[in-house]
Symmetry: C2
Subunit: 350 residues, 2 copies
DNA sequence: TTGAAAGCGATACCAC
DNA sequence: GTGGTATCGCTTTCAA
């Protein structure tokens, strides 16, 4: 038990080590270690004395020492797109889910921004700061994939690159989700259905989920024998106006894959004299908690951010537990449509 | 250079250590260390050989070993309120700012949820996982304050508890901000001004900024010789309706300290036949990037989340740098009103 | 300007 | 069921 020079100022508190605990409990260092890890049987009596000593001294094992000795840091890296982007609530829900799930496995979470790119991954992995990595906002041809493959630590992607290269992936099945949206509208009699997509930039950087959604949408609409109308949409008021103009007036069903555009969209529809759902039906793709408080309760296709985040952690834990290489796995969660009040059969216009 | 048993499966990659680098460069271990840290002069020649060896071997110092030997982890804890709360964009902006600023100082960020409470702080601090802590969403009588005071690591609060107990604090000056909002409306001739506050729960848990804002609002309205009308507001449509009803129809100026309520609020005002700003002027308290895309460009009081987050990191770094105890500091950033289109002189009603 | 070596605090192997 | 101790990879003092 010594006093470290740190920022403790005057009331310099002692640093309690495992040896202090051992001494106080009258046992050896290794016994304390094993009592803590449970990796070998300890008699109830000594277990108790150790516990008492730990409590009395206020002992906390030194994470760095532990990481050095055991080659495990009990930290997960989470790479999140932290720009002031559009889908903030979704990101936040992923992050919350990952941190919460990680804590349940006694893991902490180191937060990295996507901006750091490949270098950030190599830094935290190379330095053995983390035992595994969870990477959000994966692009179709994501430059980070080859880097992740080379790391000593396993990783889980939230998203689905075109070439997963043996990495584990979790995501909503956006292709099936798009189909489900179209089919939901079709089942109410709609045939002229358009997609209000994410902002143009999202497509430009090849974001995986946007492309998969578009693929599913195109397929479903084509299967219906209808024309494919799909437009990216800047979520500003002007952007939405523009998008609606490009889509044209004859459409009766709208699939909105752009949470931020919802408020201006519904506002502009109202101004145009289009009622929802009487004149235009709307299905929004959106996490349950992030449905904006609009006059119409929106029918949505859920983005199960919480489930995906939790599942990503579960997969990471499985990879860490398994002593040998596990075959890579891709889990795409099935779509869930929550019918509310924004979809109804189309009124036949002249 | 050995091979560790980790999760590397078959293509087990070597772990490069500082000794490997030293050997490759033909120098001693300590020289490599000093070349890396710059804590003692190194001749250009050896510096170069070391750099070359590092590059060639792909050496990354082991974070745990470094933390153990130096008693510094180069990690900051950030405690964020990660519930699916209301002010998601603001939180996100804080987090982004903190992570970005931390990286500029070569620090990483460990993300904790507020839910973990005092125990979480003690865990990461006691285990020396972090060198300093930044704590968001501080309450007036925050139970974490006494815990933070006892830690060996310095901390910075984002927010202002009633009793800072010697801790460093950063925040927007919410009291002055409320005054500025009222005075802005008053300078346009408004005398009947009401506050649409945060959700009731925010007040109930004694959130610092909400109370300070209310204090400033009350003071400013009283100074104006007017009645104080201030209502908490659940950001659902029904909640906003209710809030407006409680406030009553005679008010001409609204200060909205509730970002999520803005969309339903403006919608309901429109339905009530109240035009903005002709019939009702509105000042919203809101970060610049989170102004919702409404038909009226809102006049806002900015929440400088980015500045506050950056400043928190700067303060933490100063605390870490300074060899002796630094006197605690509280920095409240001055308000900034951004005039846009939602404030105009009141039309005199009969 | 450089090297040698003593820790840092825990883990886990080997012995009993 | 318990104890001794080498080891993890790096920093930093001391000595040259």
């Amino acid at each position: 038990m010594r006093c470290q020079g740190g920022g403790c100022g005057l009331q310099c508190v002692a640093v309690v080590t495992i040896d202090d605990v051992a001494r106080a409990a009258g046992v050896s260092t290794s016994t304390v270690s094993y009592a803590l890890s449970g990796r070998r049987p300890i008699s109830p009596a000594t277990r108790e004395r150790v516990a008492a000593a730990i409590a009395e001294l206020g002992y906390h094992p030194h994470a760095g020492a532990r990481a050095l000795a055991s080659s495990r840091s009990s930290v997960l890296a989470l790479v999140a797109p932290l720009r002031a982007d559009i889908n903030v609530p979704v990101i936040m829900e992923f992050v919350t889910a990952v941190v919460t799930a990680a804590r349940e496995h006694n893991y902490d979470v180191l937060l990295l921004t996507k901006d750091e790119g490949t270098a950030g991954l190599q830094r935290v992995a190379g330095g053995a700061m983390v035992d595994a990595l969870i990477v959000m906002d994966v692009e179709s041809a994501d430059a980070r994939v080859p880097a992740l493959v080379k790391l000593r630590q396993p990783s889980v992607l939230i998203g689905l690159p075109t070439e997963p290269a043996g990495l584990n992936c979790v995501d909503l099945d956006f292709e099936a989700t798009a189909r489900a949206c179209v089919e939901h509208l079709a089942s109410h009699g709609h045939r002229r259905i358009a997609l209000v997509g994410p902002a143009p930039g999202v497509y430009q950087r090849g974001t995986s989920y946007a492309n998969r959604f578009l693929t599913g949408f195109t397929g479903a609409v084509t299967a219906l024998g209808a024309d494919v109308v799909a437009e990216p949409c800047d979520p500003s008021r002007a952007g939405v106006r523009d998008c609606l103009d490009r889509i044209g007036p004859s459409v009766t069903g709208l699939v909105v894959h752009n949470e931020a555009a919802l408020v201006p969209l519904l506002d502009l529809l109202r101004i145009d004299g289009k009622r929802v759902p009487e004149d235009v039906s709307v299905v929004a793709v959106c996490p349950r908690d992030a449905v904006p408080p609009l006059p119409v309760r929106l029918t949505t296709a859920e983005i199960p951010a919480h489930e995906v985040g939790t599942l990503a952690v579960t997969m990471a834990m499985r990879l860490l537990d398994s002593p040998v290489a596990t075959p890579p796995e891709t889990r795409l969660l099935p779509p869930v449509i929550v019918p509310r009040d924004s979809v109804a059969p189309p009124v036949d216009l002249p």
